[in-house]
């Protein structure tokens, strides 16, 4: 239930698919648009999903509107610098700290950004594919003669 023509008018380069919207830049403005000016305001940011695709990190903002119980994914590509949405949704703080901790993305605008799970002096970001696991207990599943 997205007001696609109004959205196109504000942000021409947004690609609208049936399940999700792909946004190249200015992700924060699209989200604030969806939060307020859309037919149905998506008032809950359910979660931020991050996935490491080798040369960039794909962020998915999963919005939810309590009126007509509808989920919407807003997908964007991020290198290692991203704009923070804590001013729109307070629940984003933990999500952004976790992504900063596990993916190494620095969120501008989130003042109290720090590592959520790992200790402060942990080197490397565990959920990246390039994260080398030096712990010898972990390379158990690769050499299985399947």
């Amino acid at each position: 239930m997205i007001n696609t023509d109004l959205l196109k008018e504000y942000f021409p380069d947004v690609l609208v698919y049936d399940y999700y919207i792909f946004v190249e830049k200015n992700i924060v403005d699209v989200i604030s648009f969806l939060k307020t000016k859309n037919y149905v305001d998506f008032d809950v940011l359910s979660q931020i999903i991050a996935a490491d695709c080798t040369d960039f990190v794909q962020l998915t903002y999963r919005l939810y509107s309590t009126e007509n119980n509808e989920f919407l994914n807003v997908v964007t590509k991020v290198k290692d610098e991203a704009a923070s949405v804590t001013h729109l949704y307070k629940s984003a703080h933990f999500d952004e700290c976790e992504i900063h901790d596990l993916f190494g993305i620095n969120f501008v605008g989130n003042e109290k950004l720090e590592r959520l799970y790992m200790p402060e002096d942990w080197d490397g970001h565990p959920l990246l594919k390039s994260y080398d696991q030096t712990d010898e207990r972990l390379e158990w599943n690769n050499d299985q003669s399947l």
């Binding site: 158990w140 599943n141 299985q144 003669s145 399947l146």
Partner: protein, 129 residues
Amino acid sequence: MIKKIYKSILAIIIGHITVLKHAFKKRVTLEYPEVKPLLNDKFRGEHLFDINKCKACGMCQKVCPANAITIIKDENGLNEYSIDYKKCIFCGNCYYYCNFNAIMPSSNFELACSSKESLVITFKKAEEA
């Protein structure tokens, strides 16, 4: 005001009576070492491995999430089969996906032992003389 006091005193008395009611019910606790809990046949305790049925197909090894099973094959089928209880999480995948029912659950859950080595249980093929 009086109603509130009356209601709260009544609530305290009812609370006491319900707790007293429990005093006369049957005891629920189980004296463990003397009285063993009764477990049904599906309980996933220690593995029961039958070496003759095993065809060394490696299905259980492929399915185990913690890689606790290691199989050593030689020319005439299975030579050695070992389960490492330090890694095993008793998930039961190996029981479900073994096609020859070579490995089955037993309801023995007392697996405490004193040395790490005795946690790795190996089954050897009986070498005929």
